[in-house]
Amino acid sequence: MSGKYKTPMLDELEKGPWPSFVTEIKKAAKKSPMADDELGQLEKSYVTKRGYWKHGGIVGVLGYGGGVIGRYSSLPEEFPGIAHFHTVRINQTSGFFYTAKALKEICDIWDKYGSGLTNMHGSTGDLVLLGTTTENLEAIFAEYSSRGWDLGGSGSAMRTPSCCVGPGRCEWACIDTLDITYNLTQEFQDELHRPAFPYKFKIKTAGCAVDCVAAIARADLSIIGTWKGNIQIDQAEVKKYAGSGMNIQAEIIDLCPTECMNYNNGEIKINDAQCSRCMHCIAKMTKALRPGKEKGATLLVGSKAPIVVGSLLSWVVVPFMKVEPPYTELKTIIRSMIEWWDDTAKPRERIGEVLEVKGMRPFLEHIGVPPQPQQVKEPRKDPFFFWAESDFKK
């Protein structure tokens, strides 16, 4: 089955210490002619320096509008195995936790219906099954869904929410990222599977401002854990860090962005009212410093890739809110955000782009959040500003 192609270029990429994707494709190619043709076409791309994929057509499973990315080789005669080579997006578990048993089951099904190649995971978070044919899609869906797995999103829909490991292992998690992500994914099943939005909508949840899931850069809604109140300090541990050679002044105090810390007589003091909760000191002195006790989240909106007006990072909309099961307040505000976007956006306009065009005010008014200095880096520079009738009544 395998070895149909000579791949001198790709073979180069089996050398060296980093694990080789070429080796992976070859492994799959031993069992799958699709994977073998993928290898052949890829070698050709390496020679000619271009891809050979057509634009995807719309393929999918009954009742769903997304979850499968249609993909066809533009050289189907030369590489018949990948004439169809669709990817299937499967909702990953919150925090990407698996058991060997579950993963092996996933593999078994995939070997049966697909190329045997996967992406663990896609950039949005899905468990991506790489390469199958249109006729296999319903079977794949039946096999996975009957075992408790569902499809991820694609097209103008909610996309699979994703999160950091959070309380599953991390001492800094201020919110239950895993549970929030699970709950939101369940809440938005319809929006996930039946594209009816102006464009994609992504949600990512990070347990703290360290943001190990890149929420602030890659999600239309970024939920980031934080706290109110004082950073908890264990002065005995501070002394141990000093004892073990840490230059506390240079590494911690001097790098605190708000200059709200000081270190004297072997003790750290923090002026918490001035702390911006940036996480630096906590991250670098994890045994000595811990987040404050009143936990909650900051909601930020709008980040995306540069197409077409330049990249956006998410903007602070709600500086602090409690986020606790059953997450009613969170779900309500998300629905309200989406509603505004849905009503306001042109097709293929992300929420961040609309917000930039329309300004913050109509959005904040719609979702019922007051203007707050936390929402801006600095107030406006120009003297051109709008007044609404409601402003005059005050």
């Binding site: 270029m9 790709l10 990429l13 060296g16 210490p17 980093w18 694990p19 080789s20 992976e24 994977a35 390496y46 000619t48 320096k49 271009r50 891809g51 993909r71 990817t87 909702n91 578990t93 919150s94 936790f97 698996y98 058991t99 060997a100 048993k101 593999c107 070997d111 045997g116 190649l117 996967t118 992406n119 663990m120 950039s123 790489l130 319903e138 039946a142 009957s146 075992r147 408790g148 569902d150 699979t160 994703s162 309380p167 001492e171 239950d176 895993l178 699970y182 994914t185 099943q189 401002a209 190990c212 850069a217 890659r218 590494e251 790098l255 911006s276 996480m279 890739a305 197409i307 007006v309």
Partner: protein, 358 residues
């Protein structure tokens, strides 16, 4: 064979079925962690319980065969519990410290790369490339392999001033985190697309196509039932190609990649930052893109040598100034570096204070 009964709108299985008992017991009650080596760490709960993690590199494209091999090891050493990271590494979640050594030994024997923890380079966030995407202007997996082979020591053992996050995007859609990475590669076109006029009317909606262009370079060509591109305005983003495939943006001989630097995501110390252009172009040189790899190593080494402890690449550059970044790395400054797009105004220097170039 009959298919099992399909279910819809069930969402993913709940995470609690997959977390090891020690996590279940200490869920949300972790106290601290310690980095034990370049690829291992231990998290200690308030209860005193410990969870060991062994992180292993992954090429992200995984065959089911490899996944099974990983699963076998997970079963052998950690009751089958494992996870993937947000940067696509594999993590073995070990509750029993005595299993650590044999696990590490087996990983070593099987040539797995343990690393990525602490102030190091971790896996490269990247996307499909020629492997699967019609839009790709380079290959992502190949670039990643070439880069990681070269900087491998920084994954496994060697420390840097802080974490250095790498990313590769195979087109300007940037399905990765290129726009906020310490050092990243993004594929770019440099020529105006050519239009297969005869196909435009068959496949494309003219108004959508015209509207797709961010620089308003496209106007309808009613005579040919096609569109015309104003060469002076086109900046080769390929958005027209996304909505109208007969507008071919691919020019293998002129396409290549750019290197951007200085982005970051976390809010620690300084605000999240976008990456900025460092080197506007390298030709695609598969299979190993040697010039790209060398350029990344150069930037990395200049950073390692000059940055202060805990300084991310972008923080270091902002402290010394971009003038000095170009000075120190020896990278040439070109017209392409000067923004002429959305943010241009805000990037022009409006101060009499700056450093000279050498």
């Amino acid at each position: 064979m009959a298919l099992p009964k399909r279910q819809t709108d069930i969402g993913p299985p709940k995470y609690d079925q997959f977390i090891p008992p020690v996590v279940k017991k200490n869920y949300g009650k972790w106290k601290y962690h310690e980095v034990l080596s370049g690829g291992t760490m231990v998290h200690v709960a308030e209860s005193g319980d410990k969870l060991y993690t062994v992180r292993v590199a992954s090429p992200r494209i995984l065959s089911t065969e490899t996944i099974r091999e990983i699963c076998d090891m997970a079963e052998k050493y950690c009751d089958g519990y494992l996870r993937f990271t947000t940067r696509n590494n594999v993590e073995f979640l070990v509750s029993d410290q005595s299993k650590m050594e044999p696990l590490l030994a087996e990983l070593k024997a099987k040539k797995y790369s343990v690393g990525g923890i602490g102030p190091r380079i971790s896996n490269v966030v990247h996307t499909q490339g020629w492997v699967h995407c019609h839009s790709a202007c380079t290959d992502a997996s190949g670039l990643v392999k070439a880069i990681m082979d070269d900087v491998y020591e920084y994954f496994t053992t060697k420390e840097l001033p802080n974490k250095v996050r790498l990313a590769v995007a195979c087109c300007v859609n940037m399905c990765g985190a290129v726009h906020c990475s310490d050092i990243a590669v993004v594929a770019v076109h440099r020529k105006v697309p050519t239009i297969a006029h005869e196909n435009v009317q068959k496949v494309c909606e003219i108004p959508t196509t015209v509207a797709s262009c961010p620089t308003s370079a496209i106007r309808p060509d009613p005579k040919n039932k096609s569109v015309i591109i104003n060469e002076d305005k086109c900046m080769y983003c390929g958005n027209c190609f996304t909505v109208c495939p007969p507008i071919d943006i691919h020019k293998p001989e002129d396409d290549g990649v750019a290197i951007v630097v200085g982005g970051k995501i976390g809010s620690l110390r300084t605000s999240p930052k976008f990456s900025k252009l460092a080197i506007p172009f390298f030709y695609n040189e598969p299979p190993r893109w040697p010039k790209v790899v060398a350029a990344i190593r150069n930037i990395l080494e200049v950073y390692a040598k000059n940055a202060r402890k805990h300084e991310r690449v972008g923080e270091w550059i902002e402290r010394i100034g971009w003038e000095d970044f170009f000075n120190l790395t020896g990278i040439e400054f070109t017209f392409q570096h000067i923004d002429d797009f959305t943010f241009a105004r805000d990037t022009f220097r409006t101060s009499a204070a700056f450093k000279y170039s050498k």
